[in-house]
Each structure stands twice: as structure tokens, then as C-alpha cells.
Amino acid sequence: MNGGESKLALPLAALFVAFFIGPLLVLIVLSLHAEAAMRTWTFANYVRFFTDSFNYSILWETLLLGAKATLLCLFFGYPIAWVCARVNARLQSVIVFLVIMPILTSVVVRTFAWIVILGRQGIINQIVLGLGLSNEPVRLLYTEVGVVLVLAQVQMPLMVLPILTVMSKIDPNLSDASRALGAGEWRTLWRVTMPLSLPGVIAGCVLTYTACITAFVTQTLIGGARLVYMPLHIYQQAVGANDWPFAGAISVVFMIAVLIIVGILGALGRKSETYARA
């Protein structure tokens, strides 16, 4: 790329500096002060975070929640992408449309729909009670199981689309060759398709994971006040307790934790690409 072409990226770079890097720096500087007016420098907010098990139990539970929801997403999303990559073009566009459809509605609407599904009077409980599986309605709303389930559905497109993109680029001759050499469907999937689709799986996991752990609306509406995750914790400190510097410190810690996980996944991704090429 020559100098003339790279100049084309300048407006975007300016936008990025003004509205992303700038506020981020303000956040970091704020977290290093004792009060919102930013008069005295201090490291106390970080000390406070790491000396109180309440805070890092929330951090740990948030990171774990993301892992659970991402795995569930992968469990359901991978087969969808696999089927989608193998059907004819027309059916493929139908499946892709069905996968994308949830993104077309607001996350609030999607989440409220889930409240109706998971509630005591909801569809799931009506089925459970109707089949006589339980005498009492099952508690799903305001439980972690509920949050994981809803996150997996709400973020599904972020998992399916990257896997599908990578899968549709895999040379079909490779699976044909595998079959011609005597491997069955499962063996072909396990030894050929799966390793080749790994870069897509990892890209999907990164997107789903980051979306799940920061999903404030879904976490609070389905999880309620007793299941505290980082986004709600930050909100409570900033708006409820009016302690902006501490909220800033929590945000910075959270961001670094997420960056580390994304970094690990990214390294795995690069490794899987060399593996796929070999």
C-alpha cells in the first residue's frame, strides 16, 4: 500500500482517536483518581478492587458465564453452519436468513420475548406442567441457566456466520478424497472438516464471548439483581453509588481480563491457521 492510499484511512483514524481512544484514555485517567473531579492521583481504586473478594468473584463469574454461553452457542451453532455449507444455494439463503433474523430485532425485544418463554406462565413451564414432568413450575427466569440459554440464542449469529464463511471456502474435493480413501461421514467431519474450519470456530468464539460477557440488557433482565455480572457491577458503582473513579477502575480491570482471553483465543486462531494449511 502506498502513501496515497493509506491517506484514505485518515478520516476513519481521526474518528477512532476522537471517539474511542480519547474516551478510553479519560476512563483510565479517571480510574487513577480519588474523586470524579480528578484532583488527587491514587492507585486506591485498584487496591480496593483486588483486596475485596466480592469484586473478583464477580469478575470470575462473568468470565465463566461467557465461557458457558459460548460453548452452548458452539454446540448448537456448529451443526447449523455445517448443514448450511452443504445444502444447495436456495436452502442456504433460507438458513442464513433464519440465523440472521434475531439480529434484525432489538436486543430488548428479543430478551422480553425470552421472559415470556421462561416465566412461570411461559411456554416451557406450560409444556413441563402439561406433560406432568413437575407439579410446580420450574424456575428458569432469574437463574444462571436462564441467562446462559438466552445469551446463546441471542448471540447465535455471531457464532454461525464466521464458521459458515470459513466452511464454504473449504475445497469440497478434500472431503470427496477422504471418502474415496474409505473414511465415513463422521471420520471425514472429525479429521478433515473440523480442523479446516477451526479458524472460523475461533473467530466465532471471540465474537460470541465478548458479546456475552458485556450483554448488560440480557444479563440484568433475565438474571435479575441477585446474579451480579461485571456490566451491572460497573453500572451500580457509577450510577447507584455515584463512584465514577471506582467504576472506571472496574471497567479497566474487566477490559484487561477480556483482552487477555481474546489474546489467547487469537493465538490459538493463528496456530489453527498454520495447522489448517499444513
Partner: protein
Amino acid sequence: MTHRLDRRTVIAGATTLGASVAMPAILCAQSKTLVAATFPGTWSEADRNIILPAFKAATSAAVTQSIVLGTDQVARLTAAKGNKPPFDVAFFDTPQVLDAAKEGLIVEYPAAKSPNFSSLLPKFQDKWGPKITMQVIGIGHNPKKIAPPPKSWDALWDPKYKGRVGLTALNSQLGIAFLAELNRIKGGSESDFEPAFKALRSLLLNVGAIATNLGAYATLWQQEQIDIAPYNFNFVQTLKAKDVPVELAIPDTGAVGWETSLHLVANATEPDLAVKYIDLHIDPAIQAQMLKPPYDVIPTNSKVKLEGAITASLAKTHDDLAKVRGFDWAKLNPQRGALIERFNREIKV
């Protein structure tokens, strides 16, 4: 066919685009716009359906509603301090008035410019801004599941209702008022909240859901996820109007509540319009209209006769209204952050 982008087309395109973005703002500049905060729920609806048309007719100015809780309004005004405030009219419950006045976020209300101020009941004339209504809390319950109506807060601890009791987080006024009342009943004081938290810990065995905000709380009632919980008179009326099975019972320990008021924000862009807007809220004709269902807004103007649901469960006369017990917010406010923090720790699973 080929498309070529030369400098001239790009500039022409960009100018058109820019003009189309700026146009609405240019047109709007001819009629003024007031930005007014309001609470989610009953109030945003009452403001939209009753106040906004009346305001438009009286001033020909438009109103943009900013639907935000009182504590969030204080946070936003604090964040914008020194700059143009995000709204001209603040909508507070009693505790936020003290905080905002101390921080210089609101100015003293120019009562002389507000013709209806003097006909407010004396209790509701505040120098920082008129009290436009009262909010009263009691025991919300689903009459299909709980009959006869509960008589005491103790009903929440009844083992019969295990998993059926709801609560709301302390960021709402309802949450903090319930905790303060619980503390008073259990023998605590403004300086000692231990009795309230002790009672809360035993109550958690019965609690099925704690909502993070009042919107989610309303959904819990709507989905019949909870059957009994502290609730607010006006929210009950709003839900009843939507055929949700919920009633409010006033416990034997008496009605408790607080006042809601409107304020002129410091450095407001449209101070004159703001006062006109605030005055409309205490106009007897408007308050009489708001007293009707589904709003059932408790009036504060002495010229408005009490009628409807209020007289059935809360107050028959203006004197009864004056008897509704309040809280000492000047003592409670400084502890608010610590109470929220403690509550969040106590309830975390």
C-alpha cells in the same frame, strides 16, 4: 454503464447530504424545544398524554421527554456540570432534591412567575420547586393468589409464600423506602440499619426474584412471576389498568411515602418555558384530569377534590394526605451509597 466519482460530484453529494442532515435542525430552530426529565412508567405516560398537549396549546413550544430515574438524573446533571445541562426540568423524589440543591444542580424556584404555586397545600410548597404529587408504598399482591388481602408487612415472611415474594434493587426509591420502613418497624434507626438487614436475610428465603429496575419489576407482576411484594400505589394503578391482577394493601403500621417534585435546572437553556411547564403540573384542572384512572396521580393543589381509587385505599381528605409518614432523607441520603453496596452484597447468590 460506468460510474465515475470526480471531485465535483463528491462535493455536490457531500453538500446535499450535509444539508439534509442540518435541515431538520434549521426548521426546528423556529419553534423552541424544552427538554424535560420524567420518570419511567405512570409519569412518562401522564406527561405525554396530558401535559404535552396542554403545553403545546399554551406556548406552541415542543417538549422532548427524557425518561430517566431521579438518581440517574442527578448523575447526568453532575457529569454535565459547567456545560449545558442535558435537560431543563428535573423530576425528583424528595431525596434527590437535597442532593441536587447541595451540588448546585438546581436553582430556587421562581414562585412569583408560577401562578398556581400559592394554591398548593402548605406541605407541598418547597422553595426548590413545587411538589407535584405523593408516592405511597404498601403491600402489592395478586388477589387471585392471596386472599384476604395481607394486613401487615409480616405477610412477606409467611412460609406459604416461599419463592413468591419479589423485591426491587435499591437504585429505585421504592427499594430504599421499603428498606427504611422495614428498619423502622424492626427497631432500627437512621444510624443503625442492622435490624433491616437481619430481617432482609430471613426474607431472602422467601424471595423468588429481585428486579434490577422498576421496568423489570413490572414485568415480574405481569408474568405472575411474583405474588406479593412491596409496591407503589401508582404503579399498581397503571398495571391494574392493563388487566394485571395486582392490588395494594396498606399495612397496619400505616402508609409511608415521599413527595415528587419538579425543578428548574441551573443554567437551563429555556428557563421561562421550564417554569411554565412546571406550573402546568400544579394547575388544578390538570391535576383533576391526572387524578382520573389509569394515572390516579395524587394531587397536591388544595383546589382539587380527592376522588376515585385514592379515597378507597389511601386518603379521604387532604388531612389524610398530610398524615402519610415520610422519611428523614437528610439523614438517609449520606448513607445511600453504603446501603446500596451492602444490599447488593447481601442479596448476591
